[in-house]
């Protein structure tokens, strides 16, 4: 469990990125911080592994104040996946995945064997192990990034817009992959994104942020959809534009779902009948 208690952050240039932020992130669940740029979401994420230290308040991991922990050791115990993967371009895929175990003193042979197994876990072919990051596609690099984040078998996995730089099709694949992984591994995932669809898809708990890290609403996706806290949230999730208010229309043999402006949003399928392929991304 990660707990923010009245956390604030003022940068030396005077900008207040976060102001009096309090939140509990439950263990073994995915919490998504979602907001536009300037909402302080990345700053909040980076406070958890002390890439950024708060100016006020405390952050606890399982009851321990992280301000008392040594930053380098702390970072080595937390998985971190970032946009553009952040892989070391001068290390092969396998060495990138094994980076942190090697830093922690795991023997090279074991670290590599573990890393190879992790490639399977994230759905990468083991033949890619000897490649350099520049020889991989964006989606593959991102998978390597996830594998690196998992390499020390951390309890906590921080993900900073990890799928922001890949194209929509690959992003959808990676999202499904993350859902599958999370159902197997049950990590405490903290995920940052500006994409509300992604937040609803991945989050057990979604935190919608306004400017300066102020919480607009916290809750399960269904709760937020059912009952937006205010106009800001309604606008953010698209409810005000009628995007979320769907109605049925009968066309021939099928029931179509349309939004309030008459744009097609999907097809109603009764349980047991033939469903659209589960792999395809949800129609908008």
């Amino acid at each position: 469990m990660i707990e923010f208690r009245s956390v604030s952050k003022q940068f030396p240039d005077g900008t207040r990125a976060v102001d009096d932020f309090s939140l509990t992130l439950p263990s073994h669940r995915t919490t998504v911080l979602v907001g536009s740029s300037g909402s302080g979401k990345t700053t909040l994420l980076r406070m958890i592994n002390r890439m950024v230290d708060p100016s006020g308040g405390t952050i606890e991991i399982d009851g321990a104040d992280i301000a008392q922990l040594e930053p380098v050791q702390l970072r080595r115990s937390i998985g971190y996946v970032m946009q553009n993967s952040g892989l070391l371009p001068h290390r092969t895929v396998i060495d990138n995945v094994a980076t942190v175990p090697l830093l922690r003193g795991v023997p090279r042979k074991k670290a590599r064997a573990d890393a190879l197994a992790l490639l399977d876990t994230v759905g990468l072919d083991q033949t890619l192990a000897a490649r350099y990051p520049s020889q991989l596609s964006g989606g593959q690099q991102q998978r390597v990034g996830v594998a690196r984040g998992l390499a020390v078998n951390p309890n906590i996995l921080l993900m900073d817009e990890p799928f922001g730089a890949v194209d929509p099709i690959v992003r959808a694949e990676l999202q499904q992959e993350l859902i599958r992984l999370q159902s197997e591994l049950g990590k405490t995932v903290v995920f940052v994104t500006h994409d509300i669809e992604e937040a609803f898809l991945l989050g057990d708990q979604v935190v919608i942020l306004r400017d300066g890290g102020r919480i607009a609403q916290v809750g399960a996706p269904a709760d937020i959809l059912a009952d937006p806290a205010d106009d800001f949230v309604a606008s953010f999730i698209g409810a005000d534009r009628g995007k979320r208010a769907l109605h049925l229309e009968r066309r021939g043999d099928s029931d179509l779902l349309l939004d309030s402006e008459g744009r097609l949003a999907g097809v109603l399928v009764m349980p047991g009948t033939s469903a659209p392929s589960p792999d395809s991304p949800a129609p908008r």
Binding site: N49, R75, Y80, M82, L88, P89, L103, S134, Q135, L136
Partner: protein, 228 residues
């Protein structure tokens, strides 16, 4: 030509003299420039001072510097040490800026992610920043190597023996072949050291070789990913 065949021993000796004069400055300038370049890259105030100083140092012509150094450090004018110091100073002047620029060229995302996964400050420098600046450092070191070999010949006019002695001797005795042999050997030595550095770079920086082939590999792996 006959002069060359009759003096192969002399040519060999001068070549060795030249190596002794030029290799230490190349290595020393790298070793000295790395910490200075790091300082210049890390601290804004240091950057101005260090880069201005190295720029001015580089502007000083070599022959006058050979005369000034003995007055400052007390070496004898004709001693090889005098030349080694001067050549090292030039190498450092050139290399400091290269190191600073090379370190600055390291992708901030990569640096940040190294810190995020738990590299300490020290190991970030040695295992991430320095190797990633490698290609730039290598390019700079190659320039230092070639110019040091060429510069070392100037020492001949003050009596320090090197391949440059073939120029002064050939000029005074009117032997064209000796001068030409000196030029050819100097260029050859420069190219040899340059080649050695390129080879060293291939060994130490294996990932840089893939730049050309990676695009093809990327296409192949993309299509593989698409089908799977």
């Amino acid at each position: 030509m006959t002069w060359i065949w009759a003096n192969l021993d002399l040519l060999w000796d001068r070549t060795l003299d030249h190596l002794v004069l030029s290799v230490p400055p190349i290595m020393l300038s790298f070793l000295i420039a790395v910490p200075l370049g790091w300082l210049a890259n890390r601290y804004r105030a240091g950057r101005g001072v260090i880069l201005t100083a190295s720029g001015l140092l580089y502007a000083i012509p070599s022959l006058p510097l050979f005369f000034v150094i003995p007055a400052v450090v007390g070496t004898s004018l004709r001693s090889p040490l005098n030349l080694v110091i001067a050549l090292t100073l030039y190498g450092v002047a050139l290399m400091v800026r290269v190191v600073a620029d090379g370190l600055a060229s390291v992708d901030e995302d990569v640096r940040q992610s190294a810190v995020a996964v738990g590299y300490s400050g020290w190991s970030t420098f040695w295992q991430v920043e320095l190797p990633l600046a490698g290609p730039v450092l290598l390019a700079g070191l190659r320039v230092v190597a070639v110019s040091t070999v060429s510069l070392a010949t100037v020492g001949a006019v003050i009596g320090a023996q090197s391949l440059g002695s073939l120029f002064t001797d050939g000029f005074q005795r009117g032997i064209q072949a000796e001068i030409i042999a000196g030029i050819v050997l100097t260029v050859a030595l420069a190219l040899l050291l340059d080649g050695a550095l390129v080879l060293l770079g291939r060994l130490l920086l294996p990932w840089t070789r893939l730049a050309a082939t990676s695009r093809r590999a990327l296409r192949v792996s993309r299509s593989a990913e698409g089908s799977g």
